[in-house]
Symmetry: C2
Subunit: 125 residues, 2 copies
DNA sequence: GTAGAACCTGACACCGATGTGAGGTTCAAG
DNA sequence: CTTGAACCTCACATCGGTGTCAGGTTCTAC
């Protein structure tokens, strides 16, 4: 498929898809004229990239993690370096802290929302 | 206390503290000479601000939420507008989605880390 | 062969919290 | 007083993924 279709299927902008390629996250064949051509698997890959980005990984980290992820096509994914593993454990800790902050913030918001849900003279009326 | 001490106690840079003030998140008295002077409560407030930032709220949202948070000083915190509540619920959903992404990413990382922890010929030998 | 959609590269803008540096003032202690 | 640390304001830089525009080429369908 071409880039427009991939964008549509994944909900990711064309701009971003080109950026993913530039950063080495997403490969593409080219037509003789230079247009990008993607295999069907690309959809999954883009989705995965988005999830990793949403978790706060930067493109460099994503690039190093992606080839180590076991996906259905069972490619050669044994490349997990020890130093990469160290980086990922640091990343993991960061994620844990972030989750903790999010949960705390969520309950703060819940409290605030709750007080708003009781406009004036709540309890009995 | 002065800004340097507040920075040290909270682990937040002086620059950031000034920024919080500029955005209306943190108030300060001024000495006759113009130096900022903070009450002890400021420490708590700064910590709270950090948590909210870490959860991805922007300074505007933090500014609108802060006065609605019930803290020990029991100030007048009934200002929760209905429209604010709406914003916060949207924010809450975003947080939920983010947590979901983080959890997914964390387990991806765990998998990758696990394969690295089994260098060569793991199981039996 | 031609029109129009889709694509290409390259470059610059943005957001938002924070870093950093210049140049000047205030504070506290001797 | 004087000195050095701490503070002040103002302004510009940064990072990273994404938006967007410009100017040009390719593809598809008629």
């Amino acid at each position: 498929m071409r880039i427009g279709e991939l964008a549509q299927r994944t909900g990711v902008s064309v701009r971003s898809l080109r950026y993913y390629e530039e950063r080495g996250l997403l490969a593409s064949e080219r037509t003789p004229g230079g247009h990008r051509e993607y295999a069907a698997k690309a959809v999954d890959r883009v989705v995965r990239i988005q999830v990793l980005f949403a978790a706060g990984l930067d493109s460099t980290t994503v690039a190093s993690v992606l080839p180590c992820i076991h996906d259905e096509d069972g490619g050669p994914n044994e490349l997990t370096t020890e130093s990469l593993a160290r980086d990922l454990m640091a990343e993991r800790e960061r994620i844990d802290r972030t989750i903790a902050d999010l949960v705390r913030t969520r309950s703060i918001l819940d409290e605030v929302i709750a007080t708003a849900a009781l406009p004036e003279g709540a309890g009995a009326r």
